[in-house]
């Protein structure tokens, strides 16, 4: 257990980096994922096709490939980054947005079709129907799967450790190598700091869910 206390600064540094990656990627993924879902239900066939193809490809390939693309392939194509964090954020947001898109789409489908018809019949445009009528009502069913996806995102950010980003898992690996006799405790420490992010997320989900339920 001493190994955790002795290396607390490294843990905290890794924890903050993981938190940063998760929050920034999470925000980008929520925005891009919702746009993808909107494209998927839009009246324009090309947008629907793009969204479907993107989601199917990204959702069904390993995250490591997304990281590989962002960290290795993009720089070769001329997109260079000062820090590997940027590549990690691109990979994580691109990957997670596919899952967010599917969650939002299922939420949209859970709203009775009559709601959209009524909105269209009073002259609303597609964007108004979606943002004023459908998405607010989809929110309630979308929150639980959304939080699951965000929890997965926090854990997925550990892949960044293999791509030169020194986040929680990266530090954990360094510490485990340096303290061969206390690997168990090193990993317990790593797990603890992950739980510090993911468990509150679960509670947040319950809170938001209850709040949205009352508003209905």
């Amino acid at each position: 257990m001493d190994v955790i206390i002795d290396n607390l600064p490294a843990y905290v540094d890794g924890f903050l980096r993981t938190l940063f990656l998760s929050v920034v990627s999470g925000i980008f993924a929520l925005i891009f994922g919702t746009l993808l879902a909107a494209a998927r239900v839009s009246p324009i066939a090309a947008l629907r096709g793009f969204s479907m193809t993107y989601v199917e490809i990204v959702r069904n390939t390993p995250l490591t490939i997304a990281f590989f693309f962002a960290a290795v392939v993009l720089p070769r194509l001329g997109v260079t980054f000062q820090q590997f964090e940027v590549a990690a954020i691109i990979a994580l947001s691109a990957y997670t947005s596919a899952f967010i898109a599917e969650a939002v789409r299922s939420g949209v489908n859970s709203v009775p079709v009559g709601q959209a018809e009524a909105a269209r019949s009073i002259g609303m445009k597609f964007s108004q129907v979606l943002t004023l009528i459908i998405l607010p009502q989809a929110l309630r069913t979308v929150i639980p799967p959304m939080i699951n996806i965000l929890i997965a995102l926090v854990k997925n950010s550990s892949v960044a450790g293999a791509f030169y980003v020194l986040e929680l898992f990266g530090y954990g690996r360094q510490l485990a190598n340096a303290n061969g006799d206390a690997v168990l405790w090193v990993l317990v420490g790593v797990a603890f700091f992950y739980l510090l992010i993911t468990v509150p997320l679960g509670y947040l989900a319950n809170l938001v869910e209850r709040k949205v339920a009352i508003a209905r």
């Binding site: 019949s121 009073i122 209905r216």
Partner: protein, 251 residues
């Protein structure tokens, strides 16, 4: 009475056809509704009357033919269609009030977001409309807290708030308990008296007798008969209409 010049029609359908796969749901439909006219569409279920009603504001697309509202052909998609829909009020069988909005917001949303009215203006108009349909005191509630009859009256107010040129009613009383049907029909009869152009798909023969200028009888996707209520109910010409009416009147 039943002949009219297509030129001065507010709503006109010319040679409209629609298929659902193999099923030919609308067969060569020609219908012209003048301003201020109340047309009641009746017929057995599956006759295509709801599809006809929904095609008029393009909630259903058609395969061929022309539908015109106030002389303008229905646009295919996008802003133009939205604009035209704002002029065509629609009342659904299942009310379809916005479940997450209050009664007042249900009525003001269109005027504010589509017509660009100020909230104060929209609230004032909406309250007047809600009073007119007898649910003014329910304004702050959510739709789920109202009875079916009240919800449907709110739905009528929501459509009227857009000041539509024509109102479409797609079986507005079919989902209601019997004791609530009249409160909705009363509002509709009042509306008809005030000169609103209405196309009403219904099974309420009493309403057809009382408020309709014309009765259109549909069967198998076709308009079989188009007559005044008087003519239609006392002396139907087609055997299908006779058959339909006899089934209604035996109970």
């Amino acid at each position: 009475m039943t002949t009219q010049v297509p030129g001065d029609a507010l709503v006109s359908l010319n040679a409209v056809n629609k298929h659902y796969g193999q099923l030919h749901v609308l067969k060569d439909i020609n219908l012209h509704v003048r301003k201020g006219e109340v047309v009641v569409v009746i017929g057995p279920s599956g006759s295509g009357k709801s599809t006809l009603c929904r095609a008029i504001n393009r909630l259903e697309t058609i395969d061929d033919g022309v539908i015109k509202i106030d002389g303008k052909e229905l646009p295919a998609e996008g802003k133009e269609l939205a604009k035209l829909r704002a002029d065509v009020g629609m009342v659904f069988q299942s009310f379809n009030l916005f479940a997450h909005k209050t009664i007042l917001e249900n009525v003001t949303l269109g005027p504010i977001k589509v017509k660009g009215l100020s909230k104060a203006e929209a609230d004032k108009d909406a309250m007047a409309l809600l009073e007119r349909v007898g649910v003014g005191h329910q304004a702050p509630k959510l739709p789920a807290q109202l009875s079916g009859g009240q919800q449907q009256r709110v739905a009528i107010a929501r459509a009227l708030a857009m000041k539509p040129k024509v109102m479409l009613f797609d079986e507005p009383t079919s989902a209601l308990d019997p004791e609530m049907i009249n409160e909705v029909l009363d509002v509709m009869i009042q509306l008809a008296k005030e000169g609103m152009t209405m196309i009403v798909v219904t099974h309420e023969m009493g309403f057809a007798r009382k408020a309709a200028d014309r009765v259109v009888f549909m069967d198998g996707g076709q308009i079989v008969e188009d007559a005044t209520p008087e003519e239609f109910f006392t002396n139907p010409k087609s055997s299908r209409a006779k058959d339909f009416l006899s089934k209604l009147l035996t109970h």
